[in-house]
């Protein structure tokens, strides 16, 4: 028992570990709330695409700043908001299907980001951080940014909860109620964009979609109302963040991957539970 307790406490002597845990929990909660909409509205591919398409913005910030990490958040935020609204606009105006248009833009932007970063000397290390996250490198300033923008996302969702619910469940009904659907659609895209930027350092571009989708999908299997689904998603995501970090600490596995794998394991369990329930 004391061994277990020691095992839990030992990593906390490192400040970077404490900051990492705080970041993982906050990111988990924010991703959970937004991820609920991503799952219910079938926007997983959009979320994945958006996460990848901010890479060129991050790359430009990285090159302009000569490798400084501080301003990257703002570069990522600007790119993400532009990209989220851009993907929405372009996919509506072309003849190709929406998912195809999204795929074209996202792969192109992603390649551009890699190309830009590859012009720098230390590119493999930094690229890895962007792609897979670097939660143990989170600074106090990063934590403050995560807290402020995470709170913005949560408060916005709380303020427009019933509007988002109606729009997600029954857009035609929302239109008869004269809800400004376009405004709320755009707002949701912006919220997804902000969430992705906030989570960037924890799981990175490539694994982002897992944070948006996996905990929410897990809760979806186990709940039958929206608010409990959000709450359970938040618990799963935050717990996975903590468990994943400890796993990473003791096994040496990359932290982002450890967090995502923990989420995936939760989904597996929920899926099995549900399958058994259905049989009985």
């Amino acid at each position: 028992m004391t061994n277990l307790l020691d095992g839990l406490i030992a990593p906390l002597q490192y400040a970077f570990m404490v900051r990492g845990l705080l970041a993982a929990v906050m990111v988990g909660v924010v991703c959970a709330v937004v991820g609920t909409y991503v799952v219910l509205r079938g926007m997983a591919f959009f979320g994945d695409a958006l996460a990848h398409s901010i890479l060129p913005g991050v790359a430009v910030g990285y090159l302009v700043g000569g490798g400084a990490r501080g301003p990257l958040f703002w570069w990522a935020l600007g790119t993400a908001i532009l990209a989220s609204l851009g993907i929405g606009a372009i996919s509506k105006k072309t003849k190709v299907r929406e998912d195809t248009a999204t795929g074209v833009i996202f792969a192109g932007a992603f390649a551009l980001g890699i190309a830009l970063i590859s012009t720098a000397r230390s590119y493999t290390v930094d690229l890895t951080h962007f792609l897979f996250g670097d939660v143990l490198g989170v600074s106090r300033g990063d934590l403050a940014l995560i807290a402020v923008f995470g709170a913005f996302v949560l408060l916005t969702v709380a303020a427009f909860y019933k509007e988002f619910l109606v729009l997600s469940f029954d857009p035609v009904f929302a239109a008869t109620m004269r809800l400004p659907a376009r405004f709320f659609e755009a707002l949701l895209l912006v919220l997804i964009a902000v969430t992705i930027v906030v989570s960037l350092q924890t799981v990175g571009v490539a694994l982002m979609v897992a944070m948006l989708v996996t905990p929410a999908a897990t809760a979806y299997l186990l709940t039958k109302r929206m608010l409990p689904m959000m709450a359970l998603t938040a618990v799963i995501a935050a717990a996975s963040g903590v468990v994943g970090l400890y796993l990473s600490y003791y096994t040496g596995v990359a932290s982002g991957a450890a967090i995502v794998l923990t989420c995936t394991a939760c989904f597996g369990v929920a899926w099995a539970v549900q399958a058994v329930r259905r049989k009985n």
């Binding site: 509007e163 469940f169 035609v172 009904f173 239109a175």
Partner: protein
């Protein structure tokens, strides 16, 4: 009953443009809707009187859904005008659109009560939470359609008839005076259909105007004040006997034959319809 009607009236004067007595509840003129060149609706003109119940019939692809959506203000018409009590549909939220059951995601994590509560959203406004009055109204509407005991069920646990009742309860919670129902009877068994007709009689007693699309010509004749025969153009609108003439029915349908008892005689018409699984809008 009266507890429902009183707040209903006060709400209306507060939230809606004033209703002129004597004007038709709905006036549609020259309504045309085109999707990429081809006309789904062509120059449709008609009026609805307050409190009447109208069935819209026509073959698949006749534009029934399109008409209901254009009246609801969900679709912007290519040409023509829709006015409710003399106002554009934007000025009124007293119209409720009851969707086809097949277009709803029944796995969505909401309970029956959650869905009916959505009907109150127009009365609440932004940044307001539902209050006692909203919940009381929701309870009353659930009672009225006879599914109060199912309030806490996830919507996936409902039968087809119950699903339809839930949407009618939402329209009631919305305090709608004009309900547009898109094929509410399609895919329901006979007892469930009878239940919906009973509900329509209750709505008649409340003075709710109904416009309902259906594939079933017999039911259209039997249960409705007026029928509208539609096939992109308005082929007839009035008393069933005057509208369902062999010439008009042939113009609307053609094709397969179907026997329709009317005024003691039989009229042969074609109905291309069947199950409720296909969408046509």
């Amino acid at each position: 009953m009266s507890t429902f009607t009183t707040p209903f009236k006060s709400m209306l004067t507060r939230h809606h443009a004033p209703h002129q007595p004597g004007t038709p509840i709905l006036a549609v003129s020259g309504l045309t809707v085109r999707y990429s060149g081809h006309a789904a609706l062509d120059d449709v003109t008609f009026d609805l009187r307050a409190g009447e119940q109208v069935a819209v019939v026509g073959p698949n692809g006749a534009g029934k859904s399109t008409l209901l959506k254009a009246v609801a203000g969900v679709l912007t018409p290519t040409a023509g005008a829709v006015t409710v009590y003399g106002q554009g549909p934007g000025g009124h939220i007293c119209i409720a659109y009851v969707p086809q059951r097949t277009v709803v995601d029944w796995q969505f994590p909401v309970t029956v009560r959650d869905v009916v509560l959505m009907g109150r959203i127009g009365m609440m406004g932004l940044f307001r939470q539902p209050g006692k009055r909203d919940f009381a109204q929701v309870r009353e509407c659930l009672d009225l359609v006879g599914i109060a005991d199912l309030a806490n069920r996830q919507i996936n646990e409902l039968s087809g008839g119950q699903q339809q009742r839930m949407f009618i309860a939402r329209a009631l919670a919305q305090e709608a005076e004009l309900m547009l129902m898109d094929e509410p009877l399609t895919g329901l068994d006979a007892p469930s259909q009878e239940g919906i007709f009973q509900l329509l009689r209750d709505l008649r007693a409340r003075g709710v105007t109904i416009m309902l699309s259906t594939h079933d010509l017999d039911q259209a004749v039997q249960y409705f004040d007026r029928v509208m025969l539609l096939n992109r153009r308005l082929l007839g609108f009035g008393e069933p006997a005057a509208v369902f003439t062999p010439e008009r029915l042939m113009a609307a349908y053609g094709g397969h034959l179907h026997l329709l008892p009317l005024n003691g005689g039989l009229v042969a018409v074609g109905d291309t319809c069947c199950g409720g699984d296909h969408r046509h809008d």
